[in-house]
Symmetry: C2
Amino acid sequence: MSKCEQCIIKQFNSLKALTKDELVRISGCKTSRKIKKGEVIFEEGEVLNGVYCVRDGICKLTKLSANGKDQIVKMVVKGDLLGQRSVVSEERSNLQATALNDMEVCFIPKSEILADLHKNPDFTFDVLKDMAKDLREADDVIVNMAQKSVRQRLAETIIYIHNSFGTNPDGTLSVLLSREDFANIVGTATESAIRVLSQFKKEGLISAVGKQIKIEDIEALKRVE
Amino acid sequence: MSKCEQCIIKQFNSLKALTKDELVRISGCKTSRKIKKGEVIFEEGEVLNGVYCVRDGICKLTKLSANGKDQIVKMVVKGDLLGQRSVVSEERSNLQATALNDMEVCFIPKSEILADLHKNPDFTFDVLKDMAKDLREADDVIVNMAQKSVRQRLAETIIYIHNSFGTNPDGTLSVLLSREDFANIVGTATESAIRVLSQFKKEGLISAVGKQIKIEDIEALKRVE
DNA sequence: ATTTAAATATGATATTTGTCATGATTTACT
DNA sequence: AGTAAATCATGACAAATATCATATTTAAAT
């Protein structure tokens, strides 16, 4: 099994603030795990006994709403940590995590994380900074949800996925999402998401073959009202 | 001027994790300030040079959306801290803070807060815990915005204000919000908020004389669909 | 106290979004 | 390969919400 000290992934998250010794210790008790596309990593309401460091792949964080629909609250990629919020606040998870790709993650037990949080202020501060960023992003999502149309939100979602998760050589978005996933990000009915995507296609803003979506006119997409 | 070490307010926020010495030091460089109802404490995009500890009163945190409407993202009360997110991430404020009451706040310079964040892991951990709570609440707001009707959101807002900010002796909500404020919490047009409040009144769920709103049937309000 | 401005209220109507139905296409499975 | 089950697509209609217009009431200012 590879060692945390040498892992390049940690450069992208708060683990980089740990000392060599701390990393060696964590490396000794972490477990590596492969997760298949569609698999649930943890459920809403589950007690998380640790934090996941995402080495590869992408997952969605969802919350089931009263009307029985999943809302995608955030997407987590390679390099991100998963489950810090629950571990820090010692609460059950408020979200479900589901793999959108095949994934590879390392699981670090809660006790190790908490030990370092209490001992290493740099690490704690880094986790804090990360959470501050998450919080700002969440504020932005709230405002978008409250004030923008489904059309605008969907356009922005496509741009966001394009910019954050990249594209294949042919220009198509590298993360494959179902129309239902798009609806659950945007907070609309699946049919509405489908309809708006069809409109974007007709208007030449995107092209789509099945789940393969490609931005054709990003400037026009940005201008969508 | 009163001293932080003796201030009871700090029991309600992360400052309680500071040592006596740290509190004395902070006490020496804090400034107390009174803010009148309606006054802006800081604006969106402003550089915050410190954190506010709310000793009395309530304020709203808003973000201006592209369509020119303010969205109320969170409300902050006596006992809460204000501005931690921006200070931690060393970014300009992503929100505007406006007093809804006459307020009394203590301003603590950024340098002091950051010094303690780097030295006192208990304090940092406490701030982290607080932010984790804010983040969970923000996730909940996202889901509500995305999946619930204006009617439901408004009903829940009234209950939230009732439970979190309390009532006057006659049972009316102690925080006076304009109909526009309600609209900006719920993310709807002012006219829609007014209309729904009128409906609630007709249905006997609330009574309202001007801005004075009183819950008449909280169970029915909880059941609103 | 009177005037002026702002906030509240309500109707009429347009627009957006959701729901239900139904068919086509794609994917998964044996 | 062939079948079943998802997923995608689109129409028709219903419901929710926004917008515009215009009173009415309330608060603020002189």
